[in-house]
């Protein structure tokens, strides 16, 4: 049971992730549609975990990871990546993301990653 912030520019993807998380007993405390909003909401809400899309307008997911980790070095962030974004996922991991899941999402993979990150 964790408080989670979901960042994705597509409302549909946010809904999908939210469904998965809520179904497994987690609470989605906020939704961000770009990296800038994600960083702002993180500061406001102090969630236990963030799921972060990589490609987003304005500030992308990787930059958002850097900003959030600068505010909170303990921040737990899971990247949501499309196939073929390996280089960017590597950047995100280097920037401090804990794990990644690849779209299309499989519920058990998402939950598995969330639970591992929360340990």
């Amino acid at each position: 049971m964790a408080r989670i912030l979901v960042a994705d520019d597509a409302a549909f993807m946010r809904m999908m992730i939210k469904d998965i998380l809520v179904k497994h007993g987690h609470e989605v405390v906020g939704e961000a549609s770009d990296g800038e909003q994600a960083a702002t909401l993180y500061q406001e809400l102090h969630p236990d975990l963030v799921t972060m899309d990589i490609t987003m307008p304005n500030v992308d997911g990787i930059e958002a990871v850097r900003r959030i980790r600068a505010m909170d070095p303990q921040a737990r962030i899971i990247m949501c990546s499309a196939m073929g974004q390996q280089a960017m996922v590597l950047d995100a991991i280097r920037a401090g993301a804990k794990d990644f899941v690849v779209k299309p999402f499989q519920a058990d993979r998402v939950i598995n990653a969330v639970e591992k990150a929360l340990q």
Binding site: S81, I93, D99, V102, R109, K116
Partner: protein, 665 residues
């Protein structure tokens, strides 16, 4: 050479050669998939290491070349060409030759492998020279790392990390692994390198890392690594600076030096066990036992069953309740023990079937056929000895299926069938029997051709042929010296014919029949008893002698009334169900004399396949489990008996062979 080492070496090497063979078949199907190639590489590497340790330098050299090939495919999968696998098969065959020679003589055979080496060289020339030394899990610098760690007052471990095969973005996972390792230890070396991983420049799902630890807390580190998503295995091997010789650098497995401590951990045993060729983490551990000892155990068990039966008789005759109770308990325990021992005798058919895919592949090429070979029911267990005896029979039927069953691809196309045929080998258990089926979707058996051939050979007359049922016609195929193949090919003509197949099956107490449909295919169905050693039987008395009839052959026990017996052409018959079956007086048949029947006369309705007859006996004594003992060589030719058993009172009783008695009816 120490025989114990040699045996261990041979057993393990054979396993690895089998792994190579299975893996190469897999390679042909799915190409150089990373995990598969890694597994093959390891198998070759292990073989090389063991052979070198044992001083078999030629075998070591050969396996070394093969290892290079897998190393090449691992690093450059794009260079893979399916034809190259053929050459690997040649090399694998040569390894077997080496191992067989080593097994017989205990020393390395004087074999020149130049031909195979040359083939390997030619096929992989494009990439020569290979640099496998950079790619064998950092082994070659083992001593250096171990010494360096010691100098720093640390301990060195070589970690072997394996990601799951369906892992997405393996480079990222490996990056996460390296990051985790870095938090807890110094990374002295890594393969692939850290730079390559962070650049996303790797496709492999496997990595080797040498780490130096301040304290020996390798298990904690392994756990952390295993906690990363998609990490399937993380094996650690402690590297200790070797004192004196460097000869142990390449040793692993059973031949690992005592200074090497291996620790294996796996997140998902089921998953890694499910991977072909991986047997590191099977849930059930097993030991090797020689067949001779197994047989000795079984034999003692059989004798014990006899002794127990005798005790049963004594207890039944006495009025001592305590004795009876003790015997009853002993009875149950003996049964349990017997089940266990019988279980030991059982082996999954896979242990024999596993060599067929390779053989079928070779046949496919040699005979220019195209087909898929499908095996099902590999886990089906049956009597080890029956299974081994069946090996050759199945080989023959499979060869037949390829050679005579399946049409050439062009012919199939002309007939509107798919170009590729299917040959299916299946095993399953049903109703106290094991069934093995060899099925093809080929031309089927042509009744007219079989008849024609039989008539030409004078086996039957044209008139008889016209009225024969299909079953009876196919039965002709099993007669000795009968073959419809136009010429004897070097494939099916080798060794035995269908008559030998049937003899073998029947000598094991089994039956074989053919289902076939012209143009649609042929299926050989073999029915075998679950076990040979102990069988339920009916004891009957004939002229004061006791005989056993296997219950499998008994339909029912009847009391013949005078009105039941009819006469057809002076032969007595009995209406059983909707059939009229012949009556045989077993006393007469056995030459124990003729006598009058006393109605109601006791008789046993016997059955063997489709064949059915009534066997007149004096009395039915008992139904019990008997131990089947072979008759021995000088009684082998005697018709009417399939074996002997020792009864509870110590007397010998012959087991009646229902088949041969029925055939005379």
């Amino acid at each position: 050479m120490n025989r114990e080492y040699l045996d261990a070496f041979l057993a393990e090497s054979t396993e690895n050669v089998e792994k190579l063979e299975d893996g190469c078949l897999e390679l042909e199907r799915q190409g150089p998939e990373a995990n598969l190639v890694a597994e093959l590489f390891r198998a070759a590497h292990t073989l090389k290491g063991m052979s070198a340790t044992m001083g078999f330098s030629r075998l070591a050299e050969l396996t070394h070349r093969v290892e290079d090939v897998f190393g090449l495919w691992r690093d450059h999968p794009e260079s893979f060409q399916p034809e190259q696998v053929d050459i690997l098969f040649q090399a694998i065959d040569r390894m077997r030759v080496h191992l067989e020679a080593i097994s017989t003589s205990g020393s390395e055979p004087d074999l020149k492998d130049d031909d195979v080496m040359a083939s390997l060289q030619t096929a992989f020339q494009a990439r020569e020279p290979l640099h496998p030394s950079q790619k064998n899990g950092l082994e070659e610098d083992r001593a250096r790392y171990a010494t360096e760690a010691e100098r720093q007052g640390k301990v060195a471990y070589r970690l072997h990390i394996q990601l799951t095969s369906d892992c997405m973005m393996p480079a990222v996972r490996l990056a996460m692994v390296y990051q985790t390792l870095k938090d807890a230890a110094d990374i002295a070396a890594a393969e692939p390198t850290e730079d390559a991983v962070w650049a996303g420049d790797v496709q492999t799902t496997e990595a080797y890392v040498v780490v130096y630890l301040e304290r020996d807390e390798i298990e904690r580190i392994q756990e952390k690594v295993l906690d990363i998503t998609d990490v399937a295995r993380c094996d650690a091997e402690r590297w200790v600076a070797s004192r004196g010789s460097a000869s142990q650098q390449d040793s692993r497995g059973k031949f690992a030096s005592q200074e090497t401590r291996s620790q294996s951990m796996s997140t998902t045993p089921a998953e890694s066990a499910a991977r072909p060729g991986s047997n590191d983490s099977r849930p059930d551990r097993s030991i090797r036992v020689s067949v001779r000892r197994m047989d000795a155990l079984l034999n003692t068990m059989s004798e014990m069953v006899i002794a127990k039966t005798r005790l049963d008789t004594i207890a039944a005759a006495s009025n001592d309740p305590a004795l009876r109770e003790a015997v009853e308990r002993l009875d149950r325990l003996t049964k349990d023990l017997q089940d266990e021992v019988m279980q030991l005798r059982m082996a999954p058919v896979e242990s024999v079937f596993h060599r067929y895919p390779r053989m079928m592949r070779d046949l496919e090429r040699k005979l220019n056929r195209e087909f898929d070979f499908v095996m099902t029911g590999l886990e089906t267990e049956m009597d080890r000895i029956v299974l081994e005896e069946m090996g050759e029979v199945i080989v023959h039927l499979l060869r037949n299926a390829v050679d005579h069953g399946l049409e050439p691809p062009e012919v199939r196309e002309q007939q509107g069938k798919s170009r590729r045929g299917t040959i299916r080998l299946s095993a399953y258990a049903s109703g106290g029997h094991i069934y093995i089926e060899v099925a093809d979707d080929g031309a089927g058996i042509d009744r007219a051709r079989v008849l024609q051939s039989a008539i030409t050979k004078g086996v039957i007359t044209p008139e008889a042929g016209a009225s024969m049922s299909d079953e009876a016609v196919y039965e002709l195929l099993f007669q000795s010296g009968f073959s419809t193949a136009k010429e004897v090919s070097d494939i099916s003509g080798r060794g035995v014919g269908l008559d030998a197949v049937r003899d073998k099956v029947e000598s094991l107490g089994g039956k074989i029949r053919i289902d076939t449909e012209l143009g649609r295919g042929t299926t050989f169905v073999i029915e075998l008893p679950l076990t040979l050693a102990i069988l339920p039987a009916l004891l009957v008395s004939v002229r004061g002698q006791t005989f056993a009839i296997p219950t499998a052959n008994v339909d029912e026990v009847v009391r013949l009334r005078e009105a039941d017996v009819r006469y057809v052409q002076n032969e007595s018959v009995y209406p059983s169900g909707d059939r009229i079956v012949p009556i045989i007086d077993v006393a007469e048949w056995l030459g124990l004399g003729v006598r009058r029947w006393v109605f109601p006369q006791t008789a046993v309705v016997c059955r063997n396949g489709e064949q059915k007859f009534v066997m007149v006996v004096d009395r039915v004594l008992d139904e019990l489990e008997i131990v089947n003992k072979p008759l021995g060589r000088y009684l082998e030719g005697v018709r009417g008996f399939s074996g002997a058993t020792i009864l509870g009172d110590g007397k010998v009783s012959l087991i009646l062979d229902v088949r041969s008695i029925g055939q005379s009816a």
